[in-house]
Amino acid sequence: MIAIIDYGMGNVASVQTAFENLGYQVVLTDDHATLRKSSHIILPGVGSFQAAMIEIESRNLKKILIELAETKPFLGICLGMQLLFTEGTEGGLTKGLNLIPGSVDRIDTAHILPHIGWNQLQVTDLVPSFQAFNDEFVYFVHTFAAKTAKEYIVATTDYGGEVTAIVRKGNVFGIQFHPEKSATIGGEIMKTFLEEVKK
């Protein structure tokens, strides 16, 4: 059973449906016992970094999320991906979950923001199974993005500068764009994450 973290940050119906369509049972929860029993942890999220961390801490989720990430396949999507990092500056400097070293800052670009729309992935050689998605278009909606070391970067996209799109550290994955809104390719990317963490 896949657990999607319920912490009031954005709509998760589409994320839930996407995993159900891949044949998984999905539960939306913030209950510690349920989370411990789950096979995978999905941290979604839309909104600001600071507001999200305040919600996570007020719902007493920070410690258990860090603990779960040590053993279970863990995927952060959009804002949920940004929270995986050490800190973020949106809404004021705020500490994140620190599961992957790095910081989340406003995208450094001459282009208009938010970065909204379909953009192409440039996939590194970090996780070979993701190379099938090189040059594929996926749907982004964000103004802030993660800066991290090359050793964690699975894919980037070009928006007047390199923008981190997919990251991985061990069993922790992060996806900046919305796979659940990225048509057929998005579903394949979620499936690839599920297969990769089985290895």
Binding site: G10, N11, A13, S14, T17, A18, V46, G47, S48, H111, I112, L113, P114, H115, I116, G117, W118, N119, Q120, F137, Y139, F140, V141, H142, T143, D158, Y159, H178, E180, K181, S182, A183, T184, G186, G187
Partner: protein
């Protein structure tokens, strides 16, 4: 490179997609969820639903449509029409809409943009502007393009951006329905003064009209209804026409 977006718009009345927003001689075209699914599978980059129902009962119908769409359509979708309050936005976003479009209500109460952006994030708030040329400028029109507010459309777009709008859906009342192409001068005037994405709307009669607006302006997306619904042209034909002119589009 980020792709230019091609967006079909579905006008929904009492649970059915209808032809045009012209209230005379409405013709039912089909089921909104089925049509949205078909368009998304054919390569539409997003879907816009415009609810033109007048009754409260129909408002519940659109929420059901949104729920079904969220389950069956795997591209982003926006719902506009009759969104007048934070409660309306909450209902649609909780049902699974990715964005809400606000038009007349934002003109009456600009604070609604600020409140929506603060509560849900700018990326959820699309401010729809219907503009009409009056002398050497453009006025914001409400009530389906019939009522002139006297407000300058360029200044209104700037205010919407400052208040936290994530995107502007810009419809030219002058070119809408004429099928002779987008309003290039209006689109350019707005795109050049704001730093958020603009969706051009009104006037498409041919796939080349999309290529034309992307070539002539820095607009992020183009929206059309009738050319898609009447099966005159497919999404694929529009993208092929764009690609032939060197416009970067997503091929599905």
């Amino acid at each position: 490179m980020i792709a230019k977006r091609i967006i079909p718009c579905l006008d929904v009345k009492d649970g059915k997609v209808v032809k045009g927003t012209n209230f005379v001689g409405l013709r039912e075209l089909g089921d909104p969820v089925e049509m949205a699914k078909t368009y998304s599978e054919a390569g539409a980059d997003e879907i816009v639903f415009l609810d033109i129902s007048a009754t409260h009962e129909a408002r519940d119908t659109i929420v059901d449509i949104v729920k079904e769409t969220a389950r069956n359509v795997h591209v982003p979708f926006t719902v506009g029409g009759g969104v007048r309050s934070i409660e309306d936005m909450t209902r649609l976003l909780q049902a699974g809409a990715d964005k809400v479009g606000i038009n007349s209500a934002a003109v009456t109460d600009p604070q609604l943009i600020t409140a929506g952006a603060t509560r849900f994030g700018s990326q959820c708030i699309v401010v729809a502007i219907d503009a009409k040329k009056v002398a050497d400028r453009w006025h914001v029109m409400t009530h389906g393009g019939r009522k002139d507010t006297g407000i300058d459309a360029v200044e209104w777009a700037q205010e919407a951006e400052q208040r936290g709008a994530g995107e502007i859906l810009l419809t030219s009342v002058d070119t809408d329905g004429v099928k002779n192409g987008f309003d290039l001068s209006l689109t350019r005037a707005i795109v050049e003064v704001i730093r958020i994405p603009v969706i051009a709307s009104g006037g498409v009669g041919h796939p080349d009209h999309f290529a034309e607006v992307f070539d002539a302006t820095n607009v992020s997306a183009g929206l059309a209804a009738s050319i898609f619904h009447e099966n005159t042209y497919t999404i694929k034909a529009v993208k092929a026409a764009c690609k032939a002119k060197g416009v970067n589009v997503r091929e599905a």
